[in-house]
């Protein structure tokens, strides 16, 4: 463990946080770095509200111990929008009512971004599999499928949905 705690990259910036034995990446992000976009729905890996992308893979941040993040590249919902504006997926989520209360949205977005980066033409089943661990109590996931397909089409350059 590095002197002075854990070092990693969060949304492209160097970051440091404490490395207590029970400390999770979720706590580090929310409490030390002030990145409260990532939500805590259960603290037990069952709901996916805390999904972040760690070295390209979506993970439940509540299940990652802080020391496991040493040297990792971490992306959270706060890093999705670029200088040019919202990510196409963020816009599509708002337009299609892919959320209601919005508490699952940050984790849901990160699972879907990871999917779109690996698959630019996801089928309905691909999307449902990608969000299989993201619990949403407000929707029935239909609008999420619609949002991801809308964003995928836009990112491919205006083609119709897959």
């Amino acid at each position: 463990m590095a002197e002075g705690g854990i070092r990693c990259t969060v949304n492209g910036q160097e970051a440091r946080f404490e490395a207590g034995p029970e400390r999770t990446l979720l706590q580090a992000l929310r409490e030390e770095l002030g990145l409260t976009g990532t939500k805590d729905g259960c603290s037990s890996g069952d709901c996916g509200a805390c999904v972040v992308i760690m070295d390209g893979q979506p993970v439940n941040a509540c299940m990652v111990l802080a020391p496991q993040a040493e040297g990792a590249r971490i992306r959270t919902v706060e890093g999705l929008a670029a200088a040019g504006g919202l990510h196409p997926l963020q816009r599509a989520f708002g337009e299609t009512w892919a959320f209601q209360c919005g508490f699952c949205t940050p984790g849901m977005l990160m699972s879907c971004v990871a999917l779109l980066e690996a698959n630019d033409r996801p089928s309905r089943d691909d999307i449902l599999t990608a969000i299989a661990g993201n619990f949403c109590r407000c929707t029935g996931y239909q609008a999420v499928v619609k949002a991801v397909q809308q964003a995928a089409a836009e990112m491919r350059g205006g083609e119709g949905p897959a």
Partner: protein, 763 residues
């Protein structure tokens, strides 16, 4: 030419940009200087006497700023949803697993946990009462001293039930059981309280009723309501589970005692163990029918398990009885409704408020009657369904009821009801396919005779931007969007020009609770009335400027329109004129839920009179070896009166369907001797993305003639109501075996199959 109206358009929610960027702040995200962590100590026994409670050691821990027991509450030590029988902090006895006995505030999570561990409590466990029938016996221990265990026992009767049963060709009689269900809103209950320099206690509250929270907080602290302010940050779902206050008073008490801001958030386990659940109800129901398929009479007796405290039991059980006849012309009906205290989990409000349990009973009965008569379930429903003008068994006249049969016909068309028998019924040796439907009605509003009103404040600025202040909490259901659309529509401005201030009691008048599918109607009407007052001022100025009669003018898309054409005069110019010359462009209005005067005296108490109608049809595949039920298709046709916000309407429907599938098949809190055995999202099984079929939804628009803003109806509750009976009836169709208990888990399906073929599964 016509400019596009804002109402009926797909628009994003006003807070969408904040939600997708992670900027939206929910209670757990609030950061304040000096913020302490609050925690509650909960009872380890479902019923016990508190022999000794000593917080001395906890108070001595460095970093602990407050440790409170019942003795430290300056005001009233009780919740007040209905009756003040639930303590905030238990005094001499704990009565269920969710009773708190002490509250702490400390520098951080770890210190707060240490403080809880240092509190010394000696309990003398008492024998609990876990069976409502046992609790109803004369010699049963009183759950709450001095209070009857029977919270309510009422009989409602209309027509001549005895004679109707005597004359019936067919009588179907069954006993139904439903179990505790959990809301599982993704954001657990939480509150953040802060006392400011002027002695005002501000409480950020994840709630459904900010003004009622304010009353309860003031009452607990012994403060005037003028010194309490409740603000709703973003709220991560509620579904009835945050209708009653939860930890708001505890957070406020701690902040007041510690003189530091306090954040108190329940963890998932605490959330499941403590907040109200959907009432488990045991129902004996008999339905009488004639040979030609007319429903002659319904008789039901329902016993609901309230848990130890009154909470919403009266209202929920009353609503159960109100809908037990379903959307049918039933002239003879008798329902006995009983709510009983036990030491089980507390029951209360949950989306549908007694109607889902009632629908499981009446729609199962309908299919059992159809089988008995050899009739098509669709035909039986069409034959008996209410219509516009039908006087219901409650005494209420249905003002807009054409959606009942229209939704049945449309849903049957979408699923291919007539052609279904051509499909494979046994695609593999162990698999059976079947189809089932359910159609329901559910009222909106609190009910006749109850105070049911909502206020808004609306203001247009000189640049024609608009601020709307309402006390209506938005937990995700979308009331802020609906209000912004209605204001924009009437003021002739773009939707984006309206900013809605999230409910804050310091800024907005009381709008009542966001419950009972009421806000779109009652707050919607308040917005229309306030907007019309400003609109009249704008049109008056426009009439003078254009030298036209005011009645010939309209405001649309930022302009004044005359003779169906834009005039070139903008709303902004009018707003500038009004501002320059002192014409008021602000309005406050309080709207009341409207009830017509034509109800006979003997009508059902607190009846609702605006009805949501909907029909759902399920196609299922049952695995007779495992008992697993797969929902292959689910069709839902709902009447919205008129859609204001289509995104929200479809969103509510798909979410209700997902919740309905869970209620039907998997969601069950397992409770043994007052203890919940599965208080986690891992073990309380909720359908996830891969468990839900493609949902086929359609919305009908039969405008509500009285009391619906532009004809709109509330839509929030109905989608969850028909799902369980539709699936039950599909299982019945598939395997020929009726189920009478929810949820219809694989074990219960197998048990039903075993009953049909005793011994067949033994080998």
């Amino acid at each position: 030419m016509t400019a596009p109206a804002v109402v009926g358009r797909w628009v994003s929610a006003p807070g969408a940009a904040e939600i997708v960027t992670g900027d939206a702040r929910y209670c757990p995200d609030i950061r304040l200087p000096g913020l302490l962590t609050g925690k509650l100590l909960y009872a380890p026994h479902p019923r016990a006497r508190i022999a000794r409670l000593d917080v001395g050691k906890a108070r001595a821990i460095p970093g602990v700023h407050a440790v409170l027991t019942h003795a430290d509450i300056p005001g009233e030590n009780s919740y007040l949803y209905a009756e003040p029988d639930q303590p905030l902090l238990a005094e001499d006895e704990v009565r269920f697993q969710g009773d708190a006995v002490a509250a702490v505030a400390a520098e951080d999570e770890r210190t707060a946990a240490a403080a809880l561990a240092a509190i010394e409590v000696e309990y003398e466990p008492l024998p609990g009462v876990f069976d409502p029938l046992e609790a109803m016996r004369e010699d049963a221990p009183r759950i709450v001293a001095g209070e009857d265990n029977v919270i309510m026992r009422e009989v409602y009767r209309t027509g001549d039930v005895e004679a109707a049963f005597a004359a019936a060709d067919v009588v179907v009689e069954n006993t139904y059981r439903t179990r505790w269900a959990e809301h599982a809103f993704l954001e657990t209950e939480g509150a953040v309280a802060q006392l400011d320099d002027e002695g005002v206690l501000t409480v950020y509250s994840s709630c459904q009723a900010p003004h009622r929270d304010r009353m309860q907080i003031a009452r607990a602290l012994g403060l005037p309501e003028s010194r309490v302010r409740v603000v709703t940050p973003y709220i991560g779902g509620a579904f009835g589970g945050k209708d009653e206050a939860h930890v708001q008073m505890h957070a406020a008490l701690l902040a007041h005692a510690a003189r530091r801001p306090v954040r108190l958030i329940r963890d998932r386990r605490e959330s499941i163990l403590t907040h109200v659940k959907r009432h488990p109800i045991t129902v004996e129901c008999a339905t009488a029918a004639s040979r030609d398929g007319r429903i002659l009479a319904v008789r039901a007796r329902a016993i609901a398990d309230a848990g130890p405290y009154t909470n919403a039991t009266y209202e929920v059980v009353n609503k159960f009885g109100e809908f037990i006849g379903g959307p049918y012309r039933v002239e003879n009906l008798e329902v006995e409704k009983i709510g009983v205290r036990t030491n089980n989990p507390i029951s209360g409000a949950f989306r549908g408020f007694g109607a889902p349990q009632a629908a499981f009973v009446y729609e199962s009965q309908m299919d059992d009657v159809a089988r008995e008569l050899g009739m098509d379930p669709l035909e039986l429903r069409l034959l008996n369904g209410v219509e516009t003008g039908t006087r219901m068994y409650t005494g209420v006249v249905v003002r807009a009821g054409d959606a009942m049969k229209a939704s049945l016909r449309r849903a049957a068309e979408l699923i291919g009801w007539q052609g279904r028998t051509a499909q494979e019924r046994q695609p593999a040796p162990q698999l059976r396919r079947g189809w089932g439907m359910a159609t329901i009605l559910k009222g909106s509003g609190l009910g006749r005779g109850l105070g049911d009103h909502a206020g808004v404040v609306l203001e247009m600025h000189r640049d024609a931007s608009v601020v709307l202040r309402s006390g209506a909490a938005d937990m995700g259901q979308g009331i802020v969007t609906v209000m912004a659309q209605l204001a924009a529509e009437r003021l002739g401005v773009e939707y984006d020009a309206v900013r809605v201030v999230r409910a804050d009691t310091a800024q907005a008048p009381d709008a009542g609770a966001s419950c009972a599918s009421r806000q779109a109607m009652v707050s919607g009407n308040a917005v229309l009335a306030a907007a019309d007052s400003i609109r009249a001022t704008l049109l008056g100025l426009a009439a003078r400027k254009l030298r036209r009669d005011q009645a010939e003018l309209d405001l649309r898309a930022g302009e004044v329109w005359a003779d169906g054409e834009p005039s070139g005069l903008t709303v902004r110019e009018l707003a500038e004129r009004a501002s320059a010359w002192g014409y008021p462009l602000h309005a406050e209005h309080v709207s009341h839920f409207e009830y017509p005067p034509d109800v006979p005296e003997a009508s059902y108490r607190f009846s609702q009179e605006v009805f949501q109608f909907c029909t759902q049809v399920a196609q299922v595949l049952v695995d007779c070896e495992t008992g697993q039920v797969q929902v292959e298709r689910l069709v839902a046709v709902h009447d919205a009166g008129r859609m204001i916000n289509p995104g929200g309407v479809y969103g509510q429907i798909e979410g209700g369907l997902a919740q309905g599938i869970g209620y039907a098949l998997t969601e069950e809190l397992v409770v043994s001797e007052g203890r919940t055995l599965n208080p986690s999202l891992e073990n309380y099984v909720i359908p996830m993305a891969l468990d839900i079929p493609a949902l086929e939804m359609d919305v009908l628009e039969f405008p509500e003639p009285v009391g619906g803003p532009l004809g709109a109806k509330g839509i929030a509750e109905s989608p969850i109501i028909p799902t369980a009976p539709a699936i039950r009836n599909a299982i019945l169709d598939a395997v020929g075996q009726p189920l009478y208990e929810l949820p219809m888990t694989a074990e219960r399906v197998l048990a039903a199959l075993d009953r049909a073929a005793p011994g067949a599964e033994d080998g």
